[in-house]
């Protein structure tokens, strides 16, 4: 299995070529034949021992082909250098400067991505928690319908939803008009949410778009964890001399933390890499790292730099998730 996976990765990544590739292929072939042979001819014990690996096979192959191989290839690319602008086959030269370029030239984009994603995560939590709470505890027979409504936006394309926001937030659009009528424009202006009488193409619009688009990813895991909580625990807490608020703080909230954790990850990770909201709702001052990576890949054709940026993005996300997991102590939860 391992041999097979390595083989797929190496061929997929263009790691080996020519004669080596032939050798790798035949090694893989032999290992597959050997596996099948043992599965049919081998003793019962052998077959039993092999069964779990057999079940893992589709998963491992899938991951090798569509995750590990591209990942490896991208890693290699991120350390390659181009001889000229239209050198389409960069050479692998341990070009670490791609990483320093990614970090120095695109520091504002990285900072923006993570701060926008973090703000959006907090906002989805603030909006999603009460909603999930009400559905889980007060939804009664309407639970399914209410959850369905939460998921309804998914039926429309992500892009279409974001484009619809362009119209909603337009300078003469309904939102700005309403805010003006309510005389909320001045305080919002003061809070830096509105800029010069507009909402579109501001950081607020981008964060708003992220919040809106990823809200269901927060609500659904929150709902799952809240729904599992035995309401009698609240009774028990209140029986033990605590108020409804205290019961929420000491019992419901801690028990829903796995949902908060899962929801935050499901929102933060894609939001940090998002480029759609910044592209359609933002301005040149709100571009996120996703836009930059897209630009480097598709327009500048600077694959090494784009790969390096992707790796930095991945690394920062992975680290922040690990820190967050440590901080939340979710593994300690039942």
């Amino acid at each position: 299995m391992l041999v097979l996976a390595i083989g797929v990765v190496s061929i997929g990544a263009g790691w080996v070529s020519g004669a080596t590739r032939l050798v790798a292929l035949s090694v893989m072939l032999v290992s597959v034949v050997a596996l099948v042979w043992t599965a049919f001819v081998g003793g019962l014990e052998t077959r039993r021992a092999l069964a779990p690996y057999g079940l893992l096979k589709p998963g491992i192959l899938w991951l090798s082909l569509f995750f590990l191989a591209p990942l490896w290839s991208m890693f290699q690319m991120s350390l390659s250098s181009k001889q000229s602008r239209f050198d389409f086959f960069p050479d692998f030269t341990w070009e670490w400067s791609n990483y320093s370029t990614a970090l120095t030239d695109f520091a504002p984009q990285f900072t923006r991505s993570f701060s926008y994603a973090a703000i959006a995560t907090v906002l989805t939590l603030l909006i999603g928690y009460p909603l999930a709470y009400v559905i889980a505890f007060r939804g009664g027979k309407y639970r399914t319908i209410l959850l369905g409504l939460v998921a309804v936006p998914f039926f429309t394309s992500y892009l279409i939803r974001t484009l619809a926001w362009q119209n909603l937030l337009a300078d003469s659009g309904p939102v700005v008009s309403l805010l003006n009528t309510l005389r909320l424009d001045t305080p919002l202006e003061w809070l830096n949410i509105m800029d010069n009488g507009r909402l579109m193409n501001t950081p607020a619009a981008v964060i708003g778009g992220l919040t809106y688009n990823f809200l269901p990813f927060m609500i659904l895991p929150l709902y799952v964890s809240l729904e599992k909580i035995d309401v009698r625990l609240v009774d028990a807490a209140m029986d033990l001399y605590t108020t409804a608020t205290g019961a929420f703080r000491r019992v419901v909230l801690p028990l829903s933390l796995p949902g908060v954790f899962a929801g935050s990850l499901l929102v933060f990770i894609p939001a940090a890499g998002d480029f759609v909201n910044a592209q359609f709702l933002g301005s040149p001052s709100t571009t996120m790292v996703g836009n930059s990576i897209q630009n480097q890949f598709l327009r500048e054709l600077n694959y090494p730099l784009a790969s390096a940026m992707s790796f930095v993005l991945m690394a920062v996300i992975t680290c922040s998730v690990l820190v967050y997991a440590k901080f939340m102590g979710t593994d300690d939860l039942v």
Binding site: L233, A237, D239, L240, T242, V334
Partner: protein, 380 residues
Amino acid sequence: MDTGDSVVQLDKVRKQYGSFVAVHEADFSIGRGEFFAMLGPSGCGKTTTLKMIAGFEEPTSGRILLEGEDVSDVPPHKRNVNTVFQQYALFPHMSVFDNVAFGPRSKKLNDTEVNRRVREMLDVVRLGDFASRRPAQLSGGQQQRVALARALVNYPSALLLDEPLAALDLKLREAMQIELKRIQREVGITFVFVTHDQGEALTMSDRIAVMSEGRVEQVGAPFDIYSRPESLFVAGFIGSANLLPGTIASTDGGSTRVDLAGGAQVVVPAGNSADNVSLSSGTRVTVMIRPEQLSLGGATGLSIDVTDTVFQGATLRLVGRMSNGTEVSAVLPVDPQRVTPVPGNAVTLSWHQSAPYLLDGWPDNAGSTTTNVDNVEAAL
């Protein structure tokens, strides 16, 4: 124990949901240090009554007094009573210690005091070594004791227990019954105990309130309730009984003669009747004779055809039918010297003259009641 030093008093408490009456004018009081059971089949209103005492439900009318004070509309967290919930409702994210410390911490006691009380109470329930465990790491019986400690640590005026043993297997239940009694003696707090298991109620309680369809049928000590039930329901629900419908033929001096539907006549001694029976001839009554009060043989008695015999170790349960089809059961001592009846035999069952007891009216299903279904379920 009635009014003198009552901890909990229900004053014509009624609870109605829409047109459905869950509790009809419950009116009784529970004394200090008493082990009090509310017993009845599911849906009889016993849990609703308990929730009203705890404060989770508000009475539609009537008052609930706690230590003499009207608490009818006081929220649960301000009532000095604590509940042991049916599935214990332990906080899964907290250690045993933190579970038990929950109440004292809510009351803002200082850490030393919290620590002292929790340790003390964990010792009482014999879980001193388990303080740092999570509830999920404990057995059912241990969880039960944590729930007890969590409630008792607050020194409540009364401890309310909602079917506390229902989730345990039979062996553990029996052990926990004894354990509960011990703990109650040790802490001296009033226990109000809801159960549908009459055996449990009889074993553990000082007094029992038997409830049916929202009504309190009878309140009394286990022995009184068993030997002098006030209604057919109580007679049938507590223990097993042969309920034989009949009509009063005559009363002379003290004793009453009753003609049974099956043809036999039973003499009921004076005083052996429920308070509401009118002892005049022609009244429809039911004669109750407990199975263990019947014995084999004798000149006069009930003639029955044996349909079944069940060997139960020390005793033999014999089931048979009278000529009119009324089922009768008897619990007989096992005597190796004697021939045991087998199905198909005709035998006569007799009783001590003090055994028959009169109840008002006829039962829906005449015959013997055995262990009820709820009981069997609970045992499983």
